[in-house]
């Protein structure tokens, strides 16, 4: 169970850029705006949402709704299946206070932590710059980031008078990545440009590094998030270091400590998964005419629209997707074995519903084939190994529990158990 409450720490409040980069792009943007409903602001994707999406690349529903910027939380509310998570203000306050502490003095602390890990000599504080990145709108911020980054790299490569290059820390830059055909604005915590022009992504998290180790799931999520930033920088033709500097509180204190985490694997994985995401154009093209996710529509029409896009529900969705409860109840109604976990669904192979699997488990084996030397395997298809295994499992269970082992058999409840030997 990941820390569901930490998701979406930073939600960008700005609209996605309106700059047109081509007629197709603009047509797609219009189509997505229409899906969202007239006059609605798109809900921006952040890198957390992206990594969650990349973790379930088969989910068209999520890909489409996220790309269209539909407010899934509100949508789930209308559908009567609101998600169970939010963020505690205690965690929020702690996260912000820690980040503010770690980035104080123009990022000098971040540079110190980075140097302690890379073995570089920390720069003279005079040579450390922290450019102002504020600008109007996301497009402006992206442009500003691009300039500042180019300048910082140039500063790094050409040290003043042949001396050591200057260092720069970019706090809250903004970068852009095209996901499934739609542009997404992302805001890394910080970028450090060192005296050689090298760029390191910094990810600041409020979970602790306790005695030199941190919760692996949280480190994994943070690294995947950083990998998304790395891809965005690549799109800007900036090659960032292959390790992210993860800055966390040390033990039980509020002192920052850091670790360099190799993210090559995550870079490859996120790149592959994002590429696999069905392109939004194809998803929109497959929609019935007149589909809309406008939150003002009556719930049944909205539900119909949502259900017209196939989902790939798995229990892991509960930790990260606002629509998870809706998809879960749908999967339960549809008797989808995925509600028990991805592994169960995989195990059952061609048996795609729980009912089919149970019927197979409690079916009688076919009568032995009459021995016919010309058809040693019998005339029918070779039996499904999943069916054979289920049938054996059901027989063994019944042998021990008594009864027919069928669902709901008496004595199968918690109080029972039946004679066992």
């Amino acid at each position: 169970m990941g820390d569901v409450r930490l998701r979406r720490v930073k939600q960008l409040s700005h609209q996605r850029g309106t700059e047109s980069t081509g007629a197709d792009q603009s047509a797609l943007r219009d189509r997505l705006a229409a899906l969202r409903g007239p006059g609605r602001q798109p809900r921006p994707l952040d890198s957390r949402a992206l990594t969650a999406l990349a973790a379930n690349p088969g989910c068209s529903r999520r890909a489409l709704l996220d790309s269209a910027g539909v407010d899934k939380a509100a949508l789930a509310e209308v559908l009567g299946a609101p998600a169970n998570f939010g963020q505690s203000q205690f965690a929020f306050a702690r996260g912000h206070a820690f980040e503010a502490g770690a980035t104080r003095d123009g990022g000098a602390e971040l540079v110190r932590l980075l140097c302690a890990h890379t073995g570089q000599a920390p720069p003279d504080p005079q040579l450390l710059e922290c450019p102002d990145l504020t600008a109007e709108g996301p497009e402006g911020r992206i442009e500003r980031t691009r300039e500042a980054l180019a300048l910082a790299q140039a500063r790094g490569q050409t040290g003043a008078e042949g001396g050591p290059g200057g260092w720069s820390v970019l706090l809250h830059p903004m970068v852009r990545l095209t996901v499934a055909g739609a542009p997404v604005c992302l805001e890394p915590d910080a970028l450090v440009v060192d005296g050689d022009g090298g760029v390191t992504i910094v990810e600041i998290k409020s979970f602790p590094i306790l005695d030199g180790s941190a919760a692996p799931t949280k480190v994994g999520a943070a690294t995947r998030q950083a990998a998304v930033y790395g891809l965005a920088l690549e799109a800007m033709e900036v090659r960032a270091a292959e390790s992210v500097l993860l800055v966390c509180p040390k033990d039980f204190s509020n002192l920052p400590t850091a670790a360099l985490v190799d993210m090559r694997k995550q870079l490859a994985a996120v790149r592959r998964q994002l590429r696999r995401l069905t392109r939004v154009e194809e998803l929109t093209a497959a929609l019935p005419a007149g589909t809309s996710f406008d939150l003002d529509l009556p719930p049944d029409r909205l539900a119909g629209a949502v259900d017209s896009v196939p989902a790939a529900y798995a229990p892991e969705c509960l930790a990260g997707c606002d629509l998870a409860f809706h998809c879960r109840s749908q999967a339960r109604t549809g008797n989808d074995p995925a509600v028990l976990g991805r592994g169960t669904r995989a195990e059952l192979g061609a048996l795609t519903t729980v009912k089919a699997a149970l019927d197979a488990a409690h079916s009688d084996p076919p009568p032995p084939e009459p021995s016919d030397p010309t058809h040693p395997a019998g005339p029918s298809d070779p039996p499904d190994p999943a069916v054979l295994a289920l049938r054996r499992a059901a027989r063994l269970r019944a042998e021990v529990l008594g009864g027919d082992g069928a669902a709901g058999a008496d004595g199968a409840g918690p109080a029972g158990g039946g004679p066992c030997r």
Partner: protein, 551 residues
């Protein structure tokens, strides 16, 4: 998830109620366990919010922190927690039994029950946050001295938290893990982490309805947007934090009268339903008959408890922040051995678990269709009876592979599979017994467990017509080869600890009781100051503190 469990979950889904995965209880449940339901502050590490604890279901003790950022209030909480927990943890120190001349083991060990795996992890974390603290008495110079007994509680909780990682151990149990070991619900294992939802499936009767009840528990909210069934902790529901707790804490900060009591009452409201669910779970588990081999695993727990007692009595320093290479390797090897032992013992205790192994081809039930005597070739021929068996199971065997069965005495009897061509020399096999090599027809040669005489001891050879369960796994798996002493740590693992100070005597090195070992005891308390690479990791100095240690 094994196919058998998937099947049970699907049956639970169809029936709307939980289905059994076992027929007996597989974890030790003390007569008087202490239930501990902790709560933590979201986003803060080691900042407890409150806890409900006790051994009497009608009289829980509620401890709360009205403002979790206040160090003094936290210390008061920890001090109260120590006063409440230590008497329980120390309750079994004195009563011992003499196992050997030089070894005694406590006859019982106190048990802690927490709601779920994150709860058990929080116990570890609490232990870690407390064990390096120093009291003013120990060190007058220490900034922010901790109340007496808090560091001691830290060491106990660390020990319990660490022990909980040993497969099959029962000193510290997480309730959802124990329940899901014994029953399958119609939801995923992620959803099973919610004790309330899990119990909804277990409560459902033959008419079903567990699915809707579980959904109700998970999602139903009152008119103030608060969950009707609070989560099982240690995290609180964000809606509770934001709309209920935060305003109450603000009132406390504003020094309003009665505000501390209000926080106390609010947290009690979150904890009480989980507390009741814990005891309901205990009742459910008590209805199961105990597995036969629980006692031997509990003995390992008692050894572990005794070893910790001895370390405390010997005045050893607190458990280090990080284990040295040899201790870590020892712990790992003990856990691997205990995992194998647990799996073997659960299967032997429980035909339903054995059925899983039979499905996997790791065990089989077979009827003896014929048997004849052969003798070993040695100077003193020993009986080596051969059994012809017929089974419907599909064991994954190869000629020469070992099989074991349980003798009436409880010991394991070894046997080996014979290749189909290993026909008896005298041809005495009854042709009607089925040709060896045909599916389901097997030959086994018993290789032991028949006494030392020329004739097998009575009852040590199955008769024709007997149905016997054989396993392809050992009944008492042993660990791997022994590991070097810390002084002999190989260079690949950082070499010996480079310390001028001699290592303290390993007073609590592994002890081998009858059937039970001192668990992961090893020498967790044994490393001197500077470790291999990171001196801080192995020191037992207090954590550095800042004036404002939480934000």
């Amino acid at each position: 998830m094994p196919l058998m469990h998937s099947l049970a979950r699907m049956e639970a889904m169809a029936a709307g109620r939980a289905q059994p995965l076992t027929t007996v209880l597989h974890r030790h449940l003390s007569r008087q366990p202490l239930v501990l339901v902790p709560l933590t502050t979201a986003g803060e590490v080691g900042a407890p919010l409150g806890a409900m604890l006790g051994t009497d279901r009608d009289h829980p003790l509620l401890l709360t922190v009205p403002q979790p950022k206040d160090r003094d209030l936290r210390f008061t909480f920890l001090s109260d927690l120590a006063e409440a927990l230590l008497p329980h943890l120390e309750s079994a120190l004195e009563e011992t039994e003499q196992v050997r001349e030089d070894a005694e083991v406590c006859t019982d060990a106190p048990q802690l029950l927490v709601p779920n795996a994150p709860g058990a992890e929080f116990v570890r974390l609490l232990g870690r946050s407390m064990r390096f603290r120093r009291t003013a008495e120990e060190d007058p110079q220490t900034p922010y001295p901790s109340p007496a007994r808090v560091p001691l509680l830290g060491r106990w909780l660390t020990h319990y938290g660490e022990r909980a990682r040993v497969p099959g151990s029962s000193l510290l149990l997480s309730m959802t893990e124990v329940l899901t070991r014994h029953w399958a619900t119609g939801q995923s294992s992620l959803e099973d982490q919610h004790l309330g939802a899990l119990l909804a499936w277990l409560r459902a009767g033959p008419e079903g309805g567990g699915d809707t009840a579980a959904l109700e528990v998970e999602t139903a909210r009152d008119e103030h947007g608060q969950l009707r069934t609070p989560p099982s902790g240690p995290s609180t529901d964000p809606a509770f934090d934001n709309r209920v707790l935060a305003p109450a804490v603000d009132r406390y900060d504003a020094d309003l009268p009665g505000s501390a009591e209000r926080v106390h009452q609010l947290l009690g409201g979150q904890l009480r339903p989980v507390w009741d669910a814990m005891w309901e779970s205990v009742d459910l588990l008590r209805r199961l008959p105990e597995g036969e081999r629980i006692a031997s695993r509990w003995e390992s727990d008692r050894w572990s408890y005794t070893a910790h007692r001895d370390r405390l009595r010997a005045g050893e320093p607190p458990q280090p922040r990080r284990d040295d290479a040899v201790t870590a390797a020892r712990k790992l090897s003990v856990r691997e051995r205990d995992q194998a032992r647990l799996q073997a013992q659960e299967a032997l205790d429980d035909p339903l678990v054995m059925a899983e192994r039979r499905l996997a081809g790791e065990a089989f039930v077979a009827e003896v269709t014929d048997s004849w005597m052969t003798y070993s070739q040695g100077r003193r021929p020993m009986p080596r009876p051969v059994l012809a068996l017929s089974t419907e199971d599909t064991p994954q065997w190869a000629p020469g592979a070992r099989a074991y069965r349980v003798l009436p005495s409880g010991a394991a009897q070894p046997a080996e599979f014979l290749a189909p061509e290993d026909e008896p020399a005298d041809g005495s096999a009854d042709e009607s017994a089925g040709a060896p090599g045909a599916p389901g027809e097997l030959r086994l040669r018993l290789t032991g467990g028949m006494g030392r005489a020329k004739e097998p001891a009575p009852g040590s050879v199955p008769e024709v017509g007997d149905r016997v369960c054989w396993t392809l796994f050992e009944h008492a798996p042993r660990g791997g080869p022994s590991l070097p002493e810390p002084e002999d740590t190989p260079w690949t693992h950082g070499g010996p600890p480079q310390s001028g100070t001699p290592l303290p005597e390993p007073r609590t090195a592994e002890r081998h009781g009858t059937g039970g070992q001192s668990g992961e005891a090893g020498r967790t308390g044994g490393t001197g100051p500077p470790g291999v690479t990171d001196p801080v990791a192995h020191s037992t100095l207090p954590d550095p503190v800042t004036a404002e240690d939480l934000l």
